[in-house]
């Protein structure tokens, strides 16, 4: 061996010995694109998925879902028809008084040994109703579920409106009653969402100050004390976060003692680290990178069609998209199969609806969303734009916007779309814009005319919730109607579905809504793509949840 070769070999051995990470069950290293920026779900970083992943591993909700009997795409998934108790053991509902009575679990302990009681539940809801954080997510969810007193009055000047009142009361240490102002089936689904997980009152109150009586600063910058499977070990914002197992966790001590989550911005480095055994689990790779890992020994790529999807957004207030023929033309100009093949490497399916297909009450559209450029051209002509003539004057509105930070994933897709739209005569240009600007124009201003969106998903598992989020008129209780879609029939049907206690009748109402959305082409659904993870084959047990965050409690050494 030449001298330089000997040197490299020796150096290589030395460095690898030094940097090799233990892959034991005792601890794992997870590499992600981002780590929590805050741990307060009413705080300024609550909308960031990485922040939510921290919350769901340290806090625990009252309610969850049973595990489905069959795996989906090989991944363990919830059975949304079977809500089960987590911190709440069981419950009863009295429709006459719209009152839910929750029996709480006894013996659940937090990281410092505090025992969970009804006082923690009361504290959590009182904090949510105080709307004292930067983003009142807890209040929002309670409001969506019609919990008594969680109205918009809390934002007024009357301080009494911010007090918990009699909407939620503790009957004893292990019994809590929640009253609703009207029948609403969303209560259990929202109790399963991260934004109403239960805080450890004792620790939170210990960190309260006169200026910050609900300890938002503590939650944002120090810790999220709860009754979850993991406790915070260390946290360097934007860099890393590590968790240690909560030995007193009521479902049993987690199999992995310590989880270190490290931010590695370059996806290729996360991939390389997994391939060399430096890490046990990576997330946020591009579909192409996930595909490159399939078939590699000792690495498992798991993926499930959960609730992530891609659709083309068309603003009803932005011509020419106020014309239904144009919207329909767009839906037939989308080469669905090509996008699945090129953009997602086969890890996606055509989406034929407006609600994730795995959610209860989902109805596949009767309308045929198929690639048919000839039909698209004909529709465009019927709309008054034969071969695209006359569309030039809408050049600004024909800029197809997408989130620039997602260029590596969305770049190939928007290019395919641009070519296809141009092929039918639509002079579409591409408009990559930063995430914050995209969110601002979509969420607040509602003036984004034309866009590709792969990031909106209803984490409340209910078709009615999805419809309220995206399609109900804002004046009728809609929350996030970014396309300015408005149809009185949909509004009326949703208003009925919202208070309908009979599941069958409600499903029928929701089916009618979905049919109407398809008839109106409220947006152009494209694909449902798989949520994917790549990990060492030595790990097993991964489950999918609607927030797409991994619960480290589920992971076990093979």
């Amino acid at each position: 061996m030449p001298r330089s070769g000997k040197f490299l070999a020796a150096a290589s051995t030395g460095f690898l010995a030094f940097t090799a990470l233990p892959a034991s069950a005792a601890q794992i290293l997870v590499l992600t694109e981002d780590v929590p920026a805050g741990l307060d779900y009413d705080g300024p970083s609550a909308a960031i998925p990485a922040s939510q992943s921290g919350m769901v591993n340290m806090l625990e909700p009252l309610v969850g879902y049973a595990v489905a009997r069959d795996k989906k795409d090989g991944v363990i998934v919830p059975d949304f028809s079977k809500p089960v108790g987590l911190l709440a053991e069981n419950w009863t509902y009295d429709p006459a008084t719209l009152t839910w009575t929750f029996k709480l679990r006894q013996g659940a302990k937090g990281c410092t040994g505090d025992t969970f009681t009804s006082a923690d539940v009361i504290y959590t809801f009182a904090r949510a109703k105080s709307v004292s954080g930067a983003a009142p997510v807890g209040w929002f969810l309670a409001n969506v579920a019609s919990i008594k007193g969680f109205t918009t009055d809390v934002f007024g000047k009357d301080p009494k409106a911010k007090e918990l009142g009699d909407g939620i009361v503790a009957l004893d240490d292990y019994t809590v009653q929640i009253k609703q102002s009207q029948p609403n089936v969303l209560l259990l689904p929202v109790l399963a969402i991260f934004g109403l997980q239960i805080y450890d009152k004792k620790i939170m109150e210990a960190h309260a100050t006169a200026q910050d009586p609900w300890s938002h600063a503590y939650g944002n910058t120090v810790n999220a004390p709860g009754f979850g499977a993991y406790c915070l070990d260390s946290w360097q914002k934007n860099q890393s976060i590590s968790y240690t197992a909560n030995a007193s966790y009521y479902r049993g001590k987690p199999a992995i003692d310590k989880v270190v989550v490290q931010r590695v911005p370059e996806a290729s480095n996360r991939l390389a680290a997994l391939r060399t055994g430096q890490t046990q689990l990576v997330t946020d790779l591009t579909p192409k990178e996930f595909d490159s890992l399939r078939g590699i020994p000792d690495i498992t790529v798991e993926g499930v069609t959960g609730n992530q999807n891609l659709f083309v957004h068309m603003n009803f207030k932005s011509p020419p998209f106020d014309n239904p023929k144009v919207r329909e033309a767009v839906s037939h100009a989308i080469p669905y199969e090509q996008i699945i093949k090129t953009g997602y490497f086969g890890q996606a399916t055509i989406w034929r609806g407006f609600v994730p297909s795995g959610y209860p009450s989902y109805v596949p559209s009767a309308k045929d969303f198929v690639y048919d450029p000839a039909r698209a051209k004909a529709l465009l002509a019927e709309a008054g734009y034969p071969d695209g003539k006359g569309l030039d004057k809408f050049a600004d509105n024909l800029q197809l916007a997408y989130v620039s930070e997602k260029e590596s994933t969305l770049g190939p897709i928007v290019n395919i779309l641009q070519s296809s739209f141009r092929a039918i005569g639509m002079p579409v240009t591409l408009n990559p814009i930063p995430q914050t600007q995209y969110g601002d124009r979509q969420l607040v201003k509602g003036d984004l005319p034309f866009a590709v969106n792969d990031q909106e998903k209803p984490i409340g598992v209910d078709a009615g919730y999805a419809v309220q989020l995206f399609f109900v008129s804002k004046s009728k209780g809609g929350l996030y109607n970014m396309a300015n879609y408005s149809n009185s029939k949909v509004d009326d049907l949703w208003a009925k579905a919202r208070v309908e206690p009979d599941t069958k009748v409600r499903d029928q109402l929701l089916a009618e809504i979905q049919d109407q959305l398809a008839a109106d082409v409220a947006w152009a659904p494209v694909v449902e793509y798989k949520t994917q993870w790549a990990m060492s084959s030595k790990l097993t047990g991964l489950r999918w949840y609607p927030d797409n965050a991994i619960r480290f409690f589920d992971l076990k050494p093979r």
Binding site: A37, G38, F140, T152, F155, N220, V260, T276, Q437
Partner: protein, 342 residues
């Protein structure tokens, strides 16, 4: 005289910073997005939006926001006059402590890279200049062309692929330390210094190992323009009258080269000073490739999130450091060139 010059420069620097404070404050508010949208996310009801806007303080008149930022409303929150840069709108942490966490990483990276680049560039540049047109000079030309013409992130990814992935002689690009290593308690904020101060020799060595590839990457790229600058100026100096005279009077070759190098160094140092200030924010691509979590990454995140306090803070701090570097550079110039009077 020197003290007066420094005081004058510092006064000018403070004036520049004040202008910058106002300019940045108003310019970032011209950006075409509303930071409140990021905060409220899916919860975008008008009430929630108003609540978030109030929490961030953007519902106040612009001049009131400015007064708060400057520190004229300490009852609302401390501002610049109280030594506060505000709190990040993303993390809710004080901006000054966040910059204090990220800046040492970048300063370490950039300083070591410049030292290495300088150590490489000066002898190589001199070598090229001493034999213009020769084989060594052609080699220098090719090296500097390669080093200076390719983006640093490309070299970084290439080095990661070769030295970590293929050869396994470099640590994984996962940050300043292995994720499983406990960092020393912060004293100065500089990992290599704190690990030494606390006697954690193994952590010190590990930190250097993790700096190895990013420093080589940045030094490789930086050395290109420095080599060119040194070579060109060395050539010019070697052809100047005073060198011809020195040669004629029979001074030893080494002495002549030393005089010529001294004359050639001034422009090279200017370039280094400018590049240093630029690299404090511009090393972001290398920081990104090696997951180093420096101030460049912090700045980019702040801009993308429209995190006004963080943007204002990071611009102010980087500018202040750049001004200090320029001042140091001027003093260095004066020291090596007697024609410059301070």
């Amino acid at each position: 005289m020197l003290a007066r010059y420094i005081a004058k420069r510092l006064g000018l620097g403070i004036l520049q910073l004040i202008v910058l404070v106002f300019a940045v404050f108003f310019i970032i508010r011209l950006l075409p997005a509303d930071p409140v949208a990021r905060v409220v996310g899916m919860n975008a009801s008008p009430q929630a939006y108003a609540q978030a806007a109030h929490q961030l303080g953007v519902d106040r008149p612009l001049l009131t926001q400015l007064a708060i930022y400057l520190g004229f409303e300490p009852s609302v929150q401390p501002g610049l006059l109280q030594g506060s840069l505000g709190a990040s709108w993303v993390t809710d942490s004080p901006v000054i402590s966040e910059i204090g966490q990220y800046l040492p990483v970048t300063i370490t990276l950039v300083t070591l890279s410049f030292l290495l680049a300088f150590a490489l560039a000066v002898p190589i540049g001199v070598l090229g200049a001493l034999n213009p047109g020769g084989r060594a000079d052609k080699g220098v030309f090719i090296y500097s062309l390669f080093a200076g013409s390719q983006p640093e992130f490309w070299w970084g990814l290439l080095f990661v692929y070769v030295f970590f992935f293929r050869l396994g002689i470099a640590p994984a690009p996962l940050g300043s330390l292995s994720p499983m290593t406990d960092p020393p308690a912060p004293i100065s904020g500089f990992l290599v210094i704190d690990s030494l101060l606390e006697g954690q020799w193994a952590v010190f060595v590990e930190a250097l190992e993790h700096l190895m590839l990013p420093v080589v990457t940045l030094a490789f790229v930086l050395s290109g323009p420095i080599i060119k600058m040194v070579r060109q100026n060395m050539l010019r100096a070697l052809r100047s009258d005073f060198v011809l005279y020195a040669d004629c009077v029979g001074l030893p070759r080494s002495s002549v080269a030393r005089y010529a190098l001294r004359a050639a160094m001034a422009p090279a140092m200017t370039l280094i000073g400018i590049l240093y200030g630029f690299m404090l924010g511009g090393a972001v691509l290398v920081e990104n490739v090696f997951s180093l979590g420096g101030v460049g990454q912090y700045a980019v995140r702040a801009v993308l999130a429209f995190d006004y306090p963080a943007i204002q803070g990071v611009v102010l701090v980087i500018t202040a450091i750049s001004l200090l570097v320029y001042l140091a550079l001027d003093l260095f110039h004066a020291a090596i060139d007697p024609r410059i009077v301070v």
